[in-house]
Amino acid sequence: MSTVTFREALIRAMADALEEDERVFLFGEDVAAAGGSFKLTEGLLERFGPKRVRDTPISEQAIIGTAIGAAVMGLRPLAEIMFADFAAVCFDGIANEIPKYRYMTGGQVSMPITIRMCNGAGGGFGAQHSQSVENWFLNVPGLKLVVPATPADAYGLLRSAIRDPDPVLFFEHKALFNLKGELPDVPELVALGRAEVVRHGEHVTLVATQMMRHRALEAAEELAAAGVDAEVIDPRTLVPLDLETIAASVDRTGRLVVVQECPNSGSWGATLVARLVGERLEHFDAPPMLVGAVDTPIPYSGALEELWLPSVPRIVEQVKRTVSY
């Protein structure tokens, strides 16, 4: 067991995957010689050489296309799109080709692609470099969406994503890169589609991912002092979604608050609520609530960005309202 940062866990996962399977190759803008814009791929070129670890031009459509063609032929492309917001410049490949290719060919091909990208706000990167773009893909069947919050999950989920025969969008939150956590010497894989109950509680279920998981947990500790015992669940993957774990918790607590770093319209939280109330309305003792961002682009100014993000006090406040409903 050792203490590593989220960044180190990612690098370790990529190295182990490259080691394990000759078909895996890593590519993207400045991932090789420079070790990544966020230093997330440091040392990998040196260790695996230029066939396995490749720099590309600034050509996201070409990056995604390369991933698709190589996957169809049996390689296991591990592509990086630097800021997740840039998924917009290669959206056609991600939304129209990757998730439909297998279906449209009647199962002739599989699509074992992993696309890593950095999402998330809080760093002053502004409206076009801070979005939680996993929400853009919720209505696109055929993609898996992974949103890790800890070094161990970053490692374990990335390994699972790379081994997975299906396409995975893997989101790395910029605010977590330096977060520390434990990693076993032989770290474990974490299966896609398994939520983690991060804190057990009886009065209310909080569901949150990535940076918001940490804020939800902080809120839960504050709430405990006020006598509210919150369960905190991190779904870890949005597709597939571990509805059972969340539903079981809600059936027990009767109360649900989703905390998410995005506007609520078209969010994963809204989808979760719609599914739960459709199946188990009678289990809710209070309205299920979404604590999200306001319906605006993400402002640059620190003063405004902190207001835009769901804060610990806002979470606490909503939970208190929900439990006293």
Binding site: S59, A62, G65, N96, Q108, P165
Partner: protein, 329 residues
């Protein structure tokens, strides 16, 4: 019409039997699409269809220059390319009819014929979308040290979309074995090339990517075969991609609903005189093949097509369970 070719010194002539094979395939494609046209007119199939009639020499010559293990990607106007690459006629028809035993289980349709077993990696209907994909297909063979090439067909109008640019640039940087074949049929949908593109010869765009570019007669199947053979050899040797502009003509409208009224008068007629099948038949006659053999081949091809269609029509629709299959592996 063509620029200097890669190995001018060594211009091959194809044996007559080989040219007869090409003719056979071109006839199959022609009859296949006649039937597509008819089925759409009769309302037997849905959606849209895009015929490549008049362009058969490009795909037959190019696919003839590579082998089954080589790969090919094409557009929604891809019936010809997929048949030229070796896909069976009956399953191709069945796909267009939406049958369970269609090439794609009925889930793809006319615009998306795919047959991995013959290297027909896909037909793509979002303009330009497959050019970047061709890179990955070619990369895999480079990665695994197999000297294969990837053919990538696309239209003239497609050279104005961003994906074209990114794909050609990166293919050149990585020296990927891709043969980019631009089927210049003078129109993108209803727009003549000159209204959307400020240069005459699309092959000059190759210079922007440091790769060879050349313009050839796309209605001369042997010429296409010769050029693609040369550049395929070059690509297999590790010298990277090429952009080949094949000049040809779409004898029908853009899609089933287009009567193609925007053509200047006389244009179609002039190109019909240069119909690639007529040209090849005339040449074969000059080479001593007698007319009777050509006529026999024509009716054989027609029968093969009609038989294939009859089989395909007798097959079943997909079953309801198939709706949710093939999303994830």
């Amino acid at each position: 019409m063509s620029k200097a070719s890669a190995t001018d010194a060594n211009v091959a002539t194809a044996p007559v039997e080989r040219q007869l094979d090409w003719l056979h395939t071109m006839l199959q494609i022609r009859f296949f699409e006649d039937e597509c046209h008819r089925m759409f007119a009769q309302g037997l199939v849905r959606g849209s269809t895009h015929l490549c009639q008049g362009q058969e020499a490009v795909v037959v010559g190019a696919c003839g220059a590579v082998s089954t293990v080589d790969k090919m990607l094409c557009t929604y106007r891809g019936h010809g390319a997929v048949i030229a690459k070796g896909a069976p006629l009956d399953r191709a028809f069945a796909e267009i009819l939406g049958k369970a035993d269609g090439l794609c289980g009925g889930k793809g349709g006319s615009m998306h014929l795919t047959d991995m077993t013959v290297g027909a990696v896909g037909s793509f209907a979002i303009v330009g979308g497959h050019l970047p994909i061709a890179l990955g297909v070619a990369l895999e063979s480079q990665y695994n040290d197999r000297q294969e090439v990837t053919l990538c067909f696309f239209g003239d109008g497609s050279t104005n979309i961003g994906a074209f640019h990114e794909a050609l640039n990166m293919a050149s940087v990585w020296k990927l074995p891709v043969i980019f074949v631009c089927e210049n049929n003078l129109y993108g949908e209803y727009s003549p090339l000159g209204t959307t593109t400020p240069i005459e010869r699309l092959s000059t765009r190759a210079e922007a990517y440091g790769m060879p570019g050349l313009t050839i007669d796309g209605n001369d199947v042997e010429g296409v075969w010769r050029t693609v053979s040369e550049y395929a050899a070059r690509a297999r040797a590790g010298d990277g991609p090429v952009l080949i502009e094949a000049l040809t003509y779409r004898q029908k409208g853009h899609s089933r609903s287009d009567p193609a009224k925007y053509r200047p008068s006389g244009e179609l007629e002039a190109w019909l005189e240069r119909d690639p099948i007529t040209l090849l038949e005339a040449k074969l006659e000059r080479l001593g093949v007698d007319r009777g053999r050509l006529d026999d081949m024509r009716s054989a091809a027609e029968h093969e097509v009609l038989d294939a269609l009859e089989r395909a029509r007798s097959w079943d629709d997909p079953s309801p369970e198939q709706l949710e299959e093939d999303v994830y592996a």
